[in-house]
C-alpha cells in the first residue's frame, strides 16, 4: 500500500517537474489562435470591422468580443475560413460593416495633388510615396485598397480604380460561367 502510494507520488512529482520544465522551455509568447485568425484575414487594415487593423480584430475574435462576420474585404471566403478554424457556423456578412466588393486600388491624380502628406499619414501599409509640397504617388502593388487615404485628402485627388485584369492574374473561367471562348476538345 505504502509502496504504491510512494511510487505514484514519485511518479507524479517527476511528471510535474517535466511538465513544468516543458512549460518554460516551450513557452509561446503570443496566442497561436490569434496568429491563425490573423493569417486568414485579408490584411487590408481598413478598420471597417471597427478595430484598428486586422490583428486587433483577430485578437477580439479570439477573446470572443467580435463576431466572425465583420470583415467586408474578406467577404464570404474569409467568414467560411474563420468558421472552419473556430468550429462555428458560417453566417452572412454583417451589413453594418459594409459590403464585399472586388479588390480595388487607389490612384492619386498628380495634377491636382498639393503635397499635403495627409494621405501618407493615413496609409496603414506605407504604400504612398511623397514629401511635403512634393507630388505624391501610390505604389500600386502595395496598396491594399483600404481607402483610408480618401477622407483626409483636402483636394479630393485620390480615386478608387478596380484592378485591371492582366494575363498574370487571369483565371480560366469555370465551365458554365458565361464565356464564348470555350476550350476545344477534339
Amino acid at each position: 500500500m505504502l509502496t504504491a502510494l510512494l511510487a505514484l507520488g514519485v511518479l507524479a512529482a517527476l511528471i510535474g517537474l517535466v511538465l513544468g520544465y516543458a512549460a518554460i522551455r516551450f513557452h509561446v509568447d503570443s496566442d497561436p489562435v490569434v496568429e491563425q485568425i490573423d493569417k486568414l484575414l485579408p490584411q487590408t487594415q481598413c478598420g471597417q470591422c471597427t478595430y484598428a487593423g486586422c490583428r486587433p480584430y483577430a485578437e477580439a475574435i479570439a477573446a470572443g468580443e467580435a463576431d466572425i462576420n465583420q470583415c467586408p474585404p474578406g467577404g464570404e471566403a474569409t467568414i467560411n475560413a474563420l468558421a472552419d478554424l473556430l468550429g462555428r457556423d458560417p453566417k452572412p456578412l454583417n451589413p453594418e460593416h459594409g459590403e464585399h466588393s472586388e479588390k480595388t486600388v487607389v490612384i492619386i491624380d498628380e495634377q491636382v495633388c498639393i503635397g499635403c502628406t495627409l494621405c501618407i499619414q493615413a496609409c496603414p501599409v506605407d504604400a504612398i510615396v511623397g514629401a511635403a509640397k512634393q507630388m505624391h504617388t501610390v505604389i500600386r502593388d502595395e496598396c491594399t485598397g483600404c481607402d483610408l487615404c480618401i477622407p483626409p485628402c483636402p483636394v479630393e485627388c485620390i480615386h478608387i480604380v478596380p484592378l485591371q485584369p492582366r494575363i498574370g492574374n487571369w483565371v480560366w473561367p469555370q465551365p458554365g460561367e458565361q464565356d464564348d471562348r470555350q476550350v476545344v476538345h477534339g
Binding site: 490573423d38 484575414l41 485579408p42 490584411q43 487590408t44 487594415q45 487593423g53 486586422c54 490583428r55 496603414p124 501599409v125 506605407d126 504604400a127 502595395e142 491594399t144 485584369p165 492582366r166 494575363i167 492574374n169 487571369w170 483565371v171 480560366w172 473561367p173 469555370q174 465551365p175 458554365g176 471562348r181 470555350q182 476550350v183 476545344v184 476538345h185 477534339g186
Partner: protein, 557 residues
C-alpha cells in the same frame, strides 16, 4: 471516336530497347499528312513585328530599347530577369516604334506588354560571327551562348533551356531528344528533322557535350519514316555511336515529357518533380536546332517553324516565321481562309485554345495555328451530368482520377483537388475526349489550377501587407518614444536652472554689450579728427555725450 489504346505491339525495328507503356492515352487520327509532305516555306517579311516580353515560363523579360531606337538583326532588345526567364532579340533590322500593350496569343484574349518593331526590309545583322568548334569552348561559354540566345523549350511549354540543362549541376544518365510530335495536325518538328537533320544532330552533339549523359536517345514516332531515315542517314554519316534512335508507338500523348520517359525507360518522374530528379533531361528537336544556331552560328532564337493547318486554310503547310509576325500574315501565306472556316486555335486540337482574332503575333512557343471548319471539329455538345463511367480514369496518361478532380473542383474544394494531385495533370485533354457526357474536364482543371495560384498570390500579398503594417506601427511607436525622450530631456534642462528669467536677461545683456563694443570700435576710426581746434573738440564731445545718453536710454526701453 478513337479507342483507348490499352495494348500495343512493339515496333519491328526495335531490336535493342525494351519499350514500356504509360497508363491510358489515346489513338487519335493524325491529320499530319496534310502538311508533313510539303517543304517548309519562309514567311514573307512583315511590315511590323510585335514581340511580347513574356514568351516563356517565368519572369517577363525587361525591355532594353526605347521607341525610336534602330535595331539590327539579333540585337538583344529585352534581357532576362532572374534565373527562370529568357531574353528577346530583334528578329530583323528596323526601328522600335513603341513599347505598349498589344493583343497576344492567350486564352484570355487580354493584352500584354510588347515591343513593336517596324522592319526596314534590309535585314542588317550585327557583326558576323566566326564559326567555332564547340569542343574548344569552355562549358560556361557554351551555357552562356545558349542563355544569351534566349532559347526556350520550343515544344510548347517554353521552359528556359539553360535552366533545364542545369549546366552540369547534376549527373545525367539519359538525354532524350523529343521528336515525338504526338498531337494531331502538328508536323513542324517532323519537317524540321526531314529538312535539317544535320543541324539537329549537331545540336544533339552539343547538348551531349554539355550534359555528358551516359546515354542519348532521339525518340521519334512510328509514322515519321521520312524523318527517321533522314536522321539515320545523318547519324551514319557522322559515325555516331553515342546517339541512338528509337521509334515509339503512336499513342497520344507519348510526346509528353513524363510519358516519353515512361515509354523509353519504364521510370516515372516523381509527382511535381522534374525529369532531372531522376537524372534525365528531355529536349525538343526544335530546341536542339536552336542550340546549334546559338552555339555554332551565334544566332539567337528569332524565328521558328509553325504548322499552319486545318480545313479552314487554303494551303496548309509548315512556315518558318520570324518571332513577332502576325498570325494573319501566316494565314495569308498559307493561301488565306476557306469559306467555311469556323474557329482559329493556337496549338493543336487537344491542348490548344481558341482565339477571337488573328491579329496576334507568333511567339517562341507557338507550334501550330489551326483553322478548323464546323464539320471538321464541331462545337462541343452541351455537357450532361457525369455518369461515373470512369472512362476518363482509364484514359488519363498521368494516372490521376479525373472524376474526383472534377467533383472537387465543381464544389470549390480545391484543397482536396490538390490532394488528388491536380498539379500533375498535363492538360492533355484525353479525359474530356473520351467523356460520354461531353464534360469539359480540362477546363475545370485549368480553372482550379489558376484559382489555387491566385489564392497563393493573395496569401503572399496579404503577408506582405501585414509586414508593412507591422513595420509602420513599429516606426510610429519608435518616433513617439523618441519624441517623448526629447521632451523629457528639455524639461529636465529647463528645470535645472534656479531662475529661468536670469539666464535670458544675461543673454540679452551680453548681446547688447557686443553691439556697444562694435559701435565704440567704429567710433574710434572716425576720420578727419586730427588737428581740431578746442572749439571743435568741445562740440564733438557734446555730440558724443548726447549720443551715449540716447543709446543708453533706448537700451533701457
Amino acid at each position: 471516336m478513337a479507342e483507348s489504346a490499352r495494348s500495343f505491339t512493339r515496333p519491328a525495328a526495335q531490336p535493342f530497347r525494351q519499350l514500356h507503356r504509360f497508363h491510358g492515352g489515346l489513338k487519335l487520327p493524325g491529320h499530319r499528312e496534310i502538311t508533313a509532305a510539303t517543304p517548309i516555306r519562309q514567311a514573307p517579311m512583315p511590315a511590323q513585328l510585335v514581340l511580347p516580353l513574356q514568351q516563356h515560363i517565368g519572369e517577363p523579360a525587361e525591355c532594353l530599347v526605347q521607341p525610336g531606337d534602330t535595331v539590327y538583326r539579333g540585337q538583344p532588345i529585352a534581357r532576362q530577369v532572374g534565373d527562370i526567364s529568357a531574353g528577346l532579340h530583334a528578329p530583323t533590322s528596323g526601328t522600335v516604334l513603341a513599347i505598349e500593350d498589344r493583343p497576344v496569343a492567350h486564352p484570355s484574349g487580354l493584352q500584354a506588354a510588347c515591343i513593336i518593331i517596324e522592319t526596314d526590309g534590309e535585314d542588317r545583322g550585327g557583326k558576323t560571327a566566326t564559326r567555332v568548334d564547340y569542343h574548344d569552348l569552355p562549358l560556361d561559354e557554351l551555357c552562356d551562348r545558349i542563355r544569351a540566345a534566349g532559347i526556350v523549350g520550343l515544344g510548347g511549354a517554353g521552359f528556359p533551356t539553360q535552366v533545364k540543362l542545369g549546366c552540369n549541376a547534376r549527373p545525367v544518365k539519359l538525354l532524350i531528344i523529343n521528336a515525338v510530335e504526338c498531337e494531331p495536325y502538328i508536323a513542324c518538328d517532323n519537317r524540321l528533322v526531314q529538312e535539317r537533320a544535320a543541324e539537329v544532330i549537331e545540336g544533339v552533339r552539343i547538348l551531349q557535350y554539355i550534359v555528358q549523359p551516359t546515354e542519348c536517345i532521339i525518340a521519334i514516332e512510328d509514322g515519321m519514316s521520312a524523318a527517321e531515315s533522314a536522321l539515320r542517314a545523318e547519324l551514319a554519316r557522322g559515325n555516331d555511336t553515342g546517339i541512338s534512335l528509337t521509334r515509339v508507338p503512336e499513342i497520344y500523348p507519348s510526346g509528353g515529357e513524363r510519358q516519353l520517359i515512361k515509354v523509353l525507360t519504364g521510370e516515372e518522374v516523381p509527382s511535381q518533380g522534374f525529369p532531372a530528379d531522376i537524372g534525365m533531361i528531355c529536349q525538343n528537336v526544335g530546341t536542339t536546332a536552336a542550340v546549334y544556331n546559338a552555339v555554332i552560328k551565334q544566332q539567337p532564337l528569332v524565328s521558328r517553324i509553325v504548322t499552319v493547318t486545318g480545313e479552314g486554310v487554303a494551303q496548309p503547310q509548315n512556315i518558318e516565321a520570324l518571332i513577332g509576325t502576325p498570325v494573319s500574315q501566316l494565314i495569308a501565306a498559307a493561301g488565306g481562309y476557306n469559306a467555311h472556316v469556323d474557329r482559329l486555335l493556337i496549338g493543336g486540337p487537344m491542348m490548344g485554345y481558341a482565339v477571337a482574332n488573328d491579329d496576334i503575333p507568333v511567339t517562341k512557343t507557338m507550334n501550330c495555328i489551326l483553322a478548323v471548319t464546323r464539320d471538321e471539329m464541331p462545337a462541343p455538345p452541351p455537357a450532361e451530368p457525369c455518369i461515373r463511367c470512369s472512362k476518363c480514369t482509364d484514359a488519363c496518361p498521368a494516372d490521376l482520377l479525373p472524376q474526383q478532380l472534377y467533383w472537387y473542383t465543381r464544389s470549390s474544394n480545391l484543397d482536396a483537388a490538390q490532394d488528388y494531385n491536380l498539379f500533375d495533370c498535363i492538360e492533355c485533354g484525353c479525359c474530356a475526349y473520351v467523356c460520354p457526357s461531353h464534360i469539359p474536364l480540362v477546363q475545370y482543371y485549368r480553372h482550379a489550377k489558376a484559382e489555387i495560384w491566385t489564392r497563393e498570390q493573395q496569401t503572399r500579398a496579404s503577408d506582405f501587407a501585414r509586414q508593412r503594417h507591422e513595420a509602420r506601427l513599429e516606426r510610429l511607436e519608435r518616433i513617439k518614444q523618441e519624441r517623448a525622450a526629447r521632451m523629457a530631456k528639455k524639461k529636465q534642462a529647463l528645470a535645472g536652472e534656479d531662475d529661468s528669467g536670469a539666464s535670458k536677461k544675461a543673454a540679452i545683456q551680453a548681446a547688447l554689450d557686443r553691439v556697444k563694443r562694435k559701435k565704440e570700435q567704429s567710433h574710434a576710426t572716425t576720420k578727419n579728427t586730427e588737428n581740431l581746434t578746442a572749439e571743435q573738440q568741445q562740440l564733438i564731445d557734446a555730440a558724443d555725450k548726447r549720443r551715449r545718453e540716447s543709446s543708453t536710454q533706448s537700451a533701457d526701453d
